[in-house]
Amino acid sequence: MKRAYFLFFTLVLMLIPNQVMGQDTVKIGCVLPYTGALAWQGQETFRGEQIAAEMQNKRGGVFGKKIVLVKGDSETLKSAVTETERLINEGIRLFCGEYSSSRAKVATTVTEKYGAIFCVVIAVADDITERGYKYVFQPQGRATLWGELSAEFVGKEAAPKLGKKPNELRVAIAHEDSDFGTSVSVAFARKAKEYQMNIVSQEPYSLSALDLSSVVLRIKQANPDVLALTPYVRDGILFLQQARDAGLSPKVLICPGGPLANDVFAEKLGDDMNYMLVTTCASHDVRKEAFKPDAWEALQEFADRYAKEFKKPPTNDAYHGFQGAWTFFHFGLPQAKSLNPEDVEKSMRALVFKPGENVTTFGYQAAPQGHRNAGANLIGYPNVFQWQKGSVGHLVYPKEFAKSQLMLPMPAWGQRAMK
């Protein structure tokens, strides 16, 4: 009989998730691509999340418990599923991560099945939140808003700089063909059509392509004023190098997704990156007075911690990781009644921020259940940055947060040096 009791209690203890055993830590699953083609982005995102966790721990953690991040490597779609399942089996019911939209979709399918919260910090594809899921949140906005804002920026701000009306612009669109590039570019095209811009070329290409000269030649044939390019990093560098060889030089080049904000572009292309525009959520080169004091303080602390630890300013992906995680760790979790996913879900949906009230230039309001994009940030409109003087850290839009001036038209290759 004693043995039966012993076995019974051992079994019960094994089945109880660690976080509800009264331990002094809260485990958060961070499913990101730490290896493989997106390893760099995954690691940068994690750096942002890690600093957010450290900052929150310094402020007392969550319900007096320290946040501990547990990695799950989503190198491939398959491992995104298996690693998420592994973390679920370890008792984790709170997740924060994913860079890749495709991986976010499959990982959130697993967490939703188990009633676990997944706060998606970077992946922006609309369909992550188009499946009626209850426990998935996308605080950094979604592709539609990114694409729409980019097209709106071209219509409102770039067209006058070229001395043209939006309906006089010839616009080409090129993008890698995963969920990310496709969804951002579709939204850009839709909004551009609303502005009556002339879309003269639309070219999806494979993310693994080793040569993009054919895409470049097709776009050059179309002779666009504006090129909306949505690549990841490796293919983005390849495209721009081959565009330079071919002399493809539109007057405006905007990346409606964030990857063109990576410093490695400057290492490879130098001054030729100047004048290019990037849409991203990152909150740098912003006006201090546009933020609430505590939000500004948190932003500065993040930038200082990152610079101290990694000997460089925070990257775009690190900002994204930090901003999404901070919303989750500093507001979503502490304001919940408990760490039970049901309570966290209510807390994340009850949060409302105006622009500048949190560490972002945009506000936050999660779409309610029953909404087409339940869990997505309805007001997560990103910013537009411009490469100037060899750095992408120049916010030019929205104007109320911007410290830098927009400079257009973009000169030809080899003539973009700025003093």
Binding site: A37, A209, S214, V233, Q242, V264
Partner: protein, 287 residues
């Protein structure tokens, strides 16, 4: 425009051919499909990158260091991993080289993290113009390297004692042994040469591509396609196969759709294999 498309395709074919040469040599000699081929390429690219970053060695000059380095790495890898399983089944070869592939990728990730690392040279942004046409200088150099490497290999295999021993081992393993050829030594040298060619490739790719731990996987798939298309173990076949794939990819990318170009060359690949199951050149010239 068609002229430019063809030029782009031929230069791309040069990249594909050079990436494939080491793979086809190793298969031709010892009948092993090296699934770690792409990761050796990654190591060569990292070696070139660090020589440039730490000592300012130009990528083309670094060939003089990277090639001997990769030759030694190749021989060590053969001795430690391939030699013990050389007489085992093909499935064992697959698992051993796949394991090596994953290990090398993991080591690179541990040592250098997932960062994209690229180098910028004065000639990276120097296309040569001929009227409306242009040629990218680093890609042209890769093409020349592919041809020079094939010629050098032909001469080595035909004219030197070691080259003849490699050919003899490839043709009849037992007969070569009876004639006094030290098979394990010859195999080790052949594997080393195959990886040394990857060293050339890694060095000349760095002016145009970035290196990161999984970069080898991007090149590995197309290398396998080129090798099978040209004829397994056939050096000239690798060049022809590379150019066919490059030109088909370039032409279909412009005149059909960029998103379909890989699909088009795979369709042509399947058609050629249906007509000639052993590849375009069928029997290997190493034999």
């Amino acid at each position: 425009m068609i002229g430019q498309v063809i030029i782009n395709g031929i230069l791309l074919g040069g990249i594909y051919a050079l990436v494939s040469l080491g793979l086809t040599l190793i298969f031709g000699v010892m009948r092993i499909i090296n699934f770690a081929h792409g990761q050796f390429l990654m190591l060569a690219m990292y070696a070139t990158y660090w020589l440039f970053q730490l000592y300012g060695v130009d990528p083309y000059i670094s060939i003089l260091i990277v090639v001997p380095l990769m030759f030694v790495i190749g021989m060590v890898a053969y001795r430690m991993i391939i030699q013990p399983i050389i007489d085992a089944s093909e499935m064992t070869h697959v698992f051993a080289t796949l394991g090596l592939n994953l290990s090398l990728q993991g080591i690179a990730l541990f040592l250098w993290q997932g960062d994209f690392r690229g180098i910028r040279t004065s000639y990276s942004s120097m296309p040569i113009h001929f009227g409306a046409l242009y040629i990218n200088v680093p890609r042209f150099i890769i093409f020349l390297c592919a041809i020079a490497t094939i010629l050098a290999l032909f001469l080595f295999l035909k004219k030197t004692y070691t080259g003849k021993a490699i050919r003899a081992s490839a043709q009849k393993r037992v007969a070569a042994q009876l004639m006094g050829v030290n098979l394990s030594k010859i195999y080790m040298i052949a594997f080393g040469i195959g990886i040394a060619i990857v060293g050339v490739t890694g060095a000349v790719l760095m002016p145009i591509y970035e290196v990161f731990p999984s970069v080898g996987s991007l090149f590995a798939l197309v290398a396998f396609v080129v090798v099978v298309l040209g004829g397994l173990g056939n050096l000239g076949g690798a060049l022809v196969g590379g150019i066919i794939i490059g030109v088909v990819e370039s032409v279909s990318g412009v005149f059909i759709a960029p998103a379909l170009k890989e699909g088009v060359y795979f369709i042509i690949f399947v058609i050629i294999l249906l007509l000639r199951p052993t590849g375009i050149f069928g029997k290997a010239v190493i034999h």
